[in-house]
């Protein structure tokens, strides 16, 4: 393994690694704009120029491979002069409208200007004026703020493979643009906003909503498909404002799909179920969660007492594994022969595969299976053992196990209305406790309706299509009136205490017991107590 010395620090590198990457891996910061580990290296922004002993010129550290014994100076007078000059150059045509810029607070220009720039500009001429452009359904381009790092252009060529963005013009007049009538609307388009080191590419969805320094981050997992993309939920005052990708080399790399990016909107959906209902005199009336829950438990217990094997629990692939485990155990505690049914697993026809526009190499996959945890629920059901079935068997009625079901606990939680068309006969009869986050024809005809918490409001873990179990943490508390499923199921089991995903995973045994949040993301538990 080669070792290099950067500013007097000895840094271990991998073979054929670039100096900049080696420094970043070792936690030593060198400035960079155009360099992104997930894209090709143009070495064009020139902010990362360093002095290497034995080379008379400055060299771009992003593009200089390490050599054992290399001595690099990033704070030598020559390198510092170059950094200062590049910063000054980048700012001469920059509007410096940080007070109204969404990027302010997470802007490389601001950071490097502070660290490497000069306090004053000597530019006395008129700035070049460039227009604002609407480049896609979700993206604005403020070309005047752009520093031409071309990360976005390279992204659309090398990752999404759609090549919508290009560089128009030449020299100081050049701008990023789209081809006429061809907006940047691919399913990964939102990533160009994350990539932009300055405030040039902005998300219309987040525009002017929140200053970024107010946002807090919580690690989470994408709820939209079985890929299990790693994300950060960014929130303030109990409101999730945006979702950003979280790097995971094995799963999603640096990118997330736009479906994931805007999936947080379910949390703020106006139609969300926010209180419990129970059927009284043939119609659903609003009630407290406690009352509805007690009513449901009493009814289920009496059904179970009449005959064994008459209860079922429909475990939704939107549930966390821990919740599924608790609900499954609870329903079996009431009726040992209860049937565990895997809820519907909606699926698109095929995976969306993205390829490098030139090499054709596969860069990103959006999975066809549009739920995050079908694998995890299957695993939980098989770990719990006993009678089980799936949703199709339930609605077609082919499975003899399902002939004499009298009541069940049905969990939805899907991001959109999951009952398409008429309510299936199997779901229209018997005593039904429905726990969901959006109203459906099922919740309208159920006997008890319990509001569910969205994934951003609870802890848990999901298993992606490849069998990788990934934990996620609660960013915010559920709206008033909603009790987290975990707490309800603990009550259903007759246990006291607050739902703690990590402790439940220990109970569940392997492979769940070994799952825990990456240590850098573990936060002190929020002091929230269940309503019950």
């Amino acid at each position: 393994m080669p070792k290099i010395t950067v500013d007097g620090k000895l840094i271990d590198c991998k073979e054929r690694q670039m100096v900049l990457q080696a420094c970043q891996d070792a936690g030593y910061k060198l400035p960079s704009y155009c360099y992104h580990p997930g894209l090709s290296i143009p070495a064009s922004c020139r902010i990362c120029l360093v002095e290497v002993e034995g080379i008379p010129k400055l060299v771009p550290s992003c593009q200089t491979p390490v050599r054992d014994g290399m001595v690099v100076h990033s704070r030598s007078p020559k390198a510092v002069a170059s950094q200062k000059q590049v910063m000054e150059y980048l700012l001469i045509n920059h509007p410096l409208d940080c007070p109204v810029c969404d990027q302010a607070g997470e802007c490389s220009l601001q950071d490097y200007s502070y660290e490497y720039g000069r306090s004053q500009s000597r530019f006395e001429e008129d700035k070049a004026k460039k227009p604002k452009k609407d480049v896609g359904d979700n993206i604005y381009l403020y070309s005047d703020r752009c520093i031409m790092c071309t990360r976005c252009v390279r992204f659309t060529r090398e990752v999404s493979g759609t090549s919508e963005l290009y560089v128009d013009g030449r020299g100081y007049r050049e701008e990023i643009d789209i081809f006429p009538g061809k907006p940047c609307n691919n399913k990964l388009a939102g990533n160009v906003v994350d990539l932009c080191p300055v405030g040039a590419l902005l998300d219309k969805d987040f525009l002017f909503k929140q200053r970024v320094w107010l946002l807090k981050q919580t690690p989470s997992i994408s709820p939209v498909d079985s890929g299990g993309e790693n994300i950060f939920l960014e929130y303030n005052n109990g409101v999730v404002y945006r979702i950003k990708p979280r790097y995971n080399a094995e799963v999603n790399g640096w990118w997330i799909s736009d479906d994931t990016r805007y999936s947080y909107k379910i949390i703020q959906n106006e139609k969300r179920l926010k209180s419990a209902f129970k059927k009284e005199h043939g119609s659903l009336t609003k009630t407290s969660t406690r009352e509805a829950f007690d009513f449901a438990v009493a009814q289920l217990k009496s059904l179970a007492a009449q005959s064994s094997g008459s209860l079922y629990a429909m475990l939704s692939p939107m549930m966390a594994c821990e919740e599924a485990f608790l609900l499954g155990s609870a329903i079996r505690a009431i009726d040992p022969e209860a049937v565990l049914i895997l809820g519907p697993v909606p699926s698109a026809e095929e995976d969306d595969i993205f390829r490098h526009s030139l090499t054709g190499q596969q860069t990103f996959v959006i999975k066809a299976e549009k739920v995050p945890n079908a694998e995890g629920i299957r695993r939980v059901i098989s770990q719990l053992g006993g009678p089980s079935a799936n949703y199709n068997e339930l609605i077609s009625g082919n499975n003899p196990l399902l002939k004499n079901l009298k009541g069940g606990w049905i969990v939805g939680g899907y991001l959109s209305n999951w009952i398409k068309g008429a309510l299936p006969a199997a779901l229209a009869t018997g005593f039904r406790v429905v726990q969901d986050i959006l109203p459906t024809t099922l919740s309208e005809s159920a006997d008890v309706v319990l509001p569910g918490a969205a994934w951003a409001e609870k802890d848990g873990c999901w298993e992606n299509y490849a069998g990788k179990i990934q934990p996620f943490a609660a960013a915010i508390v559920p709206p008033e009136g909603i009790t987290r499923e975990g707490d309800l199921y603990l009550a259903l089991l007759g246990r006291t205490g607050v739902y703690n995903a990590q402790a439940i995973r220990k109970e569940m045994g392997e492979p769940f017991a070994a799952v825990s949040l990456p240590t850098e993301h573990v936060q002190a538990p929020a002091m929230e107590f269940a309503e019950l």
Binding site: K57, Q85, R170
Partner: protein, 449 residues
Amino acid sequence: MAFNEPVLTKRIDADPGKRKLHFYDDYVATGGYKSLRAALDMTAADIIKTVTDSGLRGRGGAGFSAGQKRSFIPREKKGLHYLAVNADESEPGTFKDRYLMDYDPHSLLEGVAITALATQVDVAYIFIRGEFHHEIKVTEQAVKEAYQKGIFGQGGIFGSKHKLECYVHMGAGAYICGEETGLLEALEGKRGWPRNKPPFPAIAGAFGRPTVINNVETLCCVPPIIERGPAWFKTMGTPSSPGPKLFGMSGHVNKPGVYEDELGITLDYAINKLSGGMKGGKHKGTICGGISMGVLGPEQLDIKLDFDDVRFRGGCLGLGTAGMIVMNEHTDMIRALRNCVRFYAHESCGQCTPCREGSAWMKKILDRILAGEGRARDLDMLLELEKSQGIMPGTTICGLADGTAWATRTFVNKYYEEFAAKCPEERPTQMGIKRGIRNVTTPMGSNTR
């Protein structure tokens, strides 16, 4: 050292009225393709050795040894090799390649074929500047002839086993595509943004394959070298820069045009003997090799025009393409520099920050000086900005930025008084408002408004 007869221009009459376009028959009748036939009997290594021995240096501007360049191409062939002919002649003041293509296109094609033999090239691209409509037509016609006569094509060069395809590729008129890797990118159908080196084109050039890139004039020098040998070639020019050279004389001279002479003639000779002397006044300065090389001052008429003297004694970047722009005493040097910098600001490809922003900034400063708003600190600013760009300090990917730097450096330093006269020291006026434009460099909070 003597230059007795024209070499590159032997088919081009000195009298413009008698010049004639030489196609295949005329070319062969005047001794054309003899060298190619001779080269077919030589081994690749021999051809490279002959060219290296001749000391031929690239005529495209950098003056790199042409033989050495060929020797970088891997000997063991593992796939296609390419040759890219740089006919994207866009340097202001340079019009020599065009002259050769205008009248003697087959000498270029012969050079292409010999170079292809030496470096086992399979496909040659002649990258011609988009504005050269006539030259494109002529060269295409010549290439067509060469195919018919069995030089190019799958029949092999004159029936030998070495096959060579040749295409004329039309550029879109960007100066940056004359930079060798910018040219390769444009050739591949991409935006003409120069590549980072390494890898050098000799290892991974066009389409990722080993590629030789040569200027038109360099290739035209190859057939005479093969025909008459390196020793003869070395009788012309200076020991470090042997051979004939086309000098493109323009500006304030009586007879502007392309003249062939040996390397190492003095500037005085070039102006007074080749191009009929100064017009309209005394010599004030000469841009020696396209504007990127900088300017030779009024007292530098004794500078020898070769690749080294211009650089070491003349204080310029080099001889460049030897496209001389001669300026007489009435020339406004600030205007001249502004024109050069305007060109670079316009032609900067926009990839590297220092060149993209710096050239535009310098242009704006010069515009302001010309508008009578110059201040003494502008000159310091210009001299500081030029130092921060170019491949020599390592701040840019390609050498285009060096053009801005050297033009500014030489102009401002050699004509400092003239610049300083337009850039007076600042005098605060009554209200404390500095003369000229708004003052944005005042520290925040200081009460100068």
